[in-house]
């Protein structure tokens, strides 16, 4: 049950002004994968999801489900279920009626409907709630009903449109683990739209980072975080320091980059096709910068601008002589002393925390 999105494009027109919401969108999703669309609001992730669900008609491109073109099928003729941000429970039906709604439309026998609904109610932990109306249960339970209602259809593809954004932080964490558990258990191919990077990192097989209607990078959470392919992705996921420079030398030890402001040379690595003389960014994560040298190739010197003590870690800003601020995240504060603001400090990072991307 694979899903292929081929060259999808969507242009919205309002008052004669054209606005490209999605373009050049190509993606192949394999059976059982959970793919997240992640990006800032307005990046086109929801529009893409709505094209897959059939609520938006693509301006061009194709959607293939198991190789069959479903681009022009209406939503109710697609084997695709969707879970909505607002849950979209039917307020005039109780929990069981909500869950059984789609099964009844399939004209299944009453017995079959009951068996399937009972199983899913059990799986989503809704036993005992069947007779209640949506306004008589909590937000988390409404969430489960919405999930159960989609799952019970046994769709080929399940779509999630920011399903957890209305829940509080604690509940969100539990629910996303549960969604992942059930998704894996039933092996349902899924697309999950979110703007929350932690959510995306924690549940995805594959993350699609989008910006301004275009795919910026596709990869698993590790690749996205450790090997971002452009400045947008590096900046969007996690915290990051960028130092620009020019490639001076490439050898088996890595890529040497010279930064003109600090007049220093740094060593890093990359999987991009980088040549000597290229203008590049060095992507340096704050948690990979240390106050101890311990064989790390690169160093920076500056004054401690400010710090925030957060218990398990400390967030420290270092102002270089050039005026640039470098963010540092130090862990294990129990064994260390607090820094002193204004004091000079030398910090170190290895070439493994110096990911180089083209400008």
């Amino acid at each position: 049950m694979s899903l292929n999105l081929v060259n999808l494009k969507k242009v919205f027109k309002s008052d004669g002004v054209e606005n490209t919401a999605v373009e050049n969108f190509n993606l192949d999703i394999k059976e059982g994968q959970l793919v997240t669309f992640l990006g800032p609001s307005g990046c086109g992730k929801t529009t893409t999801l709505r094209m897959v669900s059939g609520f938006e008609v693509p301006s061009s491109g194709k959607i293939l489900l198991d190789g069959k073109d479903i681009t022009n099928d209406p939503p109710n003729k697609r084997d695709i279920s969707m879970m909505f941000q607002s849950y979209a429970l039917f307020p005039h039906m109780n929990v069981r009626e909500n869950i059984e709604f789609g099964l009844k439309l399939k004209k299944m026998s009453k017995k079959e409907i009951k068996v399937k609904a009972d199983k899913i109610i059990e799986l989503t932990g809704l036993s005992g709630m069947e007779k209640r109306n949506p306004d008589q249960i909590s937000g988390g339970q409404q969430q489960r009903v919405a999930l159960a209602r989609s799952l019970v259809m046994e769709p080929k593809v399940l779509l999630f449109d920011e399903p957890l954004s209305n829940l509080d932080a604690k509940l969100r964490e539990n629910m996303r683990l549960e969604i992942r558990r059930i998704q894996k258990e039933l092996n349902i191919t899924s697309i999950y739209v979110t703007h929350d990077q932690v959510e995306a990192m924690s549940i995805s097989d594959l993350i699609v980072i989008m910006d301004k209607g275009k795919i910026m990078q596709v990869g698993n959470p590790y690749e996205i975080y450790v090997r971002p392919q452009n400045k947008f992705v590096a900046d969007f996921i996690g915290n990051v320091n960028f130092i620009s420079g020019k490639v001076t030398e490439i050898n088996e030890n890595g890529i040497k980059v010279f930064n003109a402001e600090t007049k220093k040379e740094f060593t890093g690595y990359s999987n991009q096709n980088i040549k000597t003389g290229d203008e590049v960014y060095m992507v340096i994560r704050p948690e990979g910068i240390y106050t101890e040298k311990e064989g790390r190739e690169n160093s920076l010197t500056g004054k401690i601008e400010k710090y925030v003590f957060l218990g398990s870690n400390i967030e420290l800003d270092l102002r270089l002589e050039t005026g640039k601020i470098i963010h540092i995240n130090e862990y294990n504060m129990v064994e260390k002393e607090l820094p002193v603001t204004g004091k000079e400090l030398e910090v170190f990072f290895g070439k493994k925390n110096n990911w180089i991307i083209k400008k």
Binding site: S60, P74, F84, P91
Partner: protein
């Protein structure tokens, strides 16, 4: 290229789901046939002479000073009714929303009473109270020549008839102005007067303007009140057009007068919908606030209380007079209590009672359902000419009944649509005249319902028909029933268009009431009215009983 591919995709999708497409086409056809076509007929006949374009009819009509007078009178009375009605409605609504006076519920009920009565009952009662044999003028003060026929009598009758419209609109406006705004203004050291004139009044301006325009349209279109009260001394367009056609059999002049009646109404409607409607301030944010009741001083509070008490007592007086009149032998002459009037009504009018009820019960559910379907299409679907559908389906808000009536007799008196004099023409007329209210309440309610609920049903495999009947319709039940009640009441009390369409076979109670009062049988007219009112209340009562659980269920689940 890309756009054309998208367009092709959309067409393909429509063809795969043809119900909606067929429905849209059917509704456009119905609108064209029963709303637009009659209007075109009116325009056509008024602008032709011997089959050619000509302004002769207009020259003739405007050469006649009596008819010119009618045009100015209509505008004058509509303007006055709009101004004074809005002013009184504002005081009423403001007092109920911003003071802690007692008996608020009773006041509120009284303010909407005129809505369930035929619109010309006010005129009847005013003659009974202030006319030649009037209870107040003749019996109490001994005045026999009080100028009740003409501008002032008519204006009072119209203000009473349309008071609920003003009150309900302004009540909606004032109740949504958050009291925290007043608190904020007080906190910034404004005094009471400043808070009223600088905060509440400016925020109400769009609502006030909109109320005035609606009253203006209603007053222009009013037919029953001027027919009873204005007489020949104070000609107005709606009555003149009617008399031209039924008295002089001059369809052309009648149509020309109708066009002149239509123009100011349409202008007011367009201004209201596209200009004032867009200027509304939205001050509702999140949860409603409780009123702090500080912007009205203690003295002012009781002054306002006195004013709205007077208004309420006057409204009560008007409608109690009708009940009293129904049980008196000859109003003003012989005030003996009697039931004879009712016997008379059943002898003379049993047929018309049956007809009225049958027509109203047929047209009402069709109208309400059609309203919901159109609202659904307008809010939830995209299709070409959507705005056109919205505008034309709401057009009958603005088109005076007289114009519609004339249009219908012009449009449907020849084959293949030979409908004049039939049951069907009355039903169709009522369906399309009262569908705008259903559309509006449907649109308003649907706007508050998350479209994702319907989308969820689609992803679960429901087609358009299932989504509408299983999801949309249950969710907009309140709008459906308010449309049902409204169009039933209006169908029962309709007069201005219907009077052109009744026949020997199909007659209406309102027409009977009018002809009874025309021939001076006021008590009989009252008895007729009382029966009419009893039917309306019975309908609402049955609906309420029957739907008690259902309605409360839907309301409690609304998010």
């Amino acid at each position: 290229m890309a756009i054309s591919e998208e367009y092709r995709n959309k067409l393909k999708k429509l063809i795969k789901n043809p119900i909606i497409m067929l429905l849209i086409i059917a509704i456009f056809l119905l609108i064209a046939l029963f709303i637009i076509f009659p209007l075109i007929k009116v325009l056509q006949i008024s602008f032709t002479n011997d089959g050619k374009f000509s302004l002769d009819v207009y020259k003739e009509v405007f050469g006649n000073s009596y008819m010119r007078q009618g045009f100015f009178n209509s505008l004058l009375i509509a303007g006055l009714t709009a101004l004074i009605g809005t002013f009184l409605g504002f005081i009423f609504a403001y007092t109920l929303n911003r003071t802690d006076i007692p008996f608020k519920k009773i006041f509120k009920t009284i303010a909407v009473i005129p809505m369930v009565f035929p619109p010309f009952i006010g005129a009847l009662a005013i003659i009974m109270l202030f006319g030649f044999n009037g209870l107040i003028t003749a019996k109490i003060f001994g005045v026999r020549n009080f100028p009740v026929y003409g501008l002032w009598g008519l204006m009072i009758a119209q203000i009473v008839s349309f008071f609920p419209v003003a009150f309900i609109t302004l009540d909606g406006v004032i109740s949504t102005i958050s009291p925290t705004l007043e608190d904020a203004a007080f906190n910034l050291k404004a005094n009471r007067k400043q808070v009223f004139f600088k905060i509440i009044l400016p925020l109400s301006v769009p609502g006030i303007a909109s109320t005035m325009l609606v009253l203006f349209i209603e007053s222009l279109a009013d037919f029953g009140n001027p027919l009873i009260l204005a007489g020949s001394r104070f000609p107005v367009l709606s009555v003149q057009a009617y008399l031209q056609i039924t008295g002089m059999f001059d369809l052309k002049s009648g149509a020309a007068l109708a066009v002149w009646l239509l123009l100011p109404s349409l202008i007011a409607f367009i201004v209201q919908k596209y200009w004032v409607g867009k200027k509304k301030y939205i001050t509702v944010t999140g949860k409603p606030n409780t009123s702090t009741l500080k912007s009205v001083g203690p003295v002012m509070k009781w002054v306002l209380f006195a004013v709205i008490t007077v208004i309420s007592l006057f409204i009560l007086l008007i409608y109690l007079t009708i009940f009293w009149g129904a049980f008196t032998k000859v109003w003003g002459m012989n005030n003996q209590i009697t039931f004879e009037n009712f016997k008379y009504v059943f002898d003379v009018g049993a047929e018309s009672i049956k007809d009225t009820l049958l027509i109203a019960l047929t047209s009402t559910p069709i109208s309400a359902l059609l309203g919901m379907v159109i609202a659904f299409l307008i809010v939830r679907k995209t299709f070409p000419l959507k705005r056109t559908m919205e505008f034309t389906s709401l057009l009958n808000f603005a088109v005076p009944g007289t114009v519609i009536g004339i249009g219908y007799i012009l449009a449907f008196n020849s084959k293949p649509l030979m409908l004049t004099g039939t049951f069907i023409i009355l039903v169709i007329n009522f369906v399309f005249r009262y569908v705008p209210v259903g559309i509006q309440s449907g649109v308003a309610l649907l706007g508050q319902i998350d479209p994702a609920i319907e989308e969820a049903a689609y992803t679960l495999g429901a087609d358009d028909k299932t989504v509408f009947s299983k999801i949309t319709l249950p969710l907009i039940t309140p709008a459906f029933f308010s449309a049902l009640v409204y169009s039933f009441v209006r169908s029962m009390t309709a007069i201005s268009a219907a009077i052109f369409l009744v026949s020997a076979n199909w007659n209406l109670m309102t027409v009977q009431i009018l002809s009874q009062s025309d021939s001076g049988r006021l008590s009989e007219a009252c008895a007729f009215s009382v029966i009419l009112i009893i039917i309306i209340f019975a309908f609402m009562g049955i609906l309420k009983l029957f739907l008690k659980n259902k309605i409360s269920l839907v309301n409690s689940n609304q998010r």
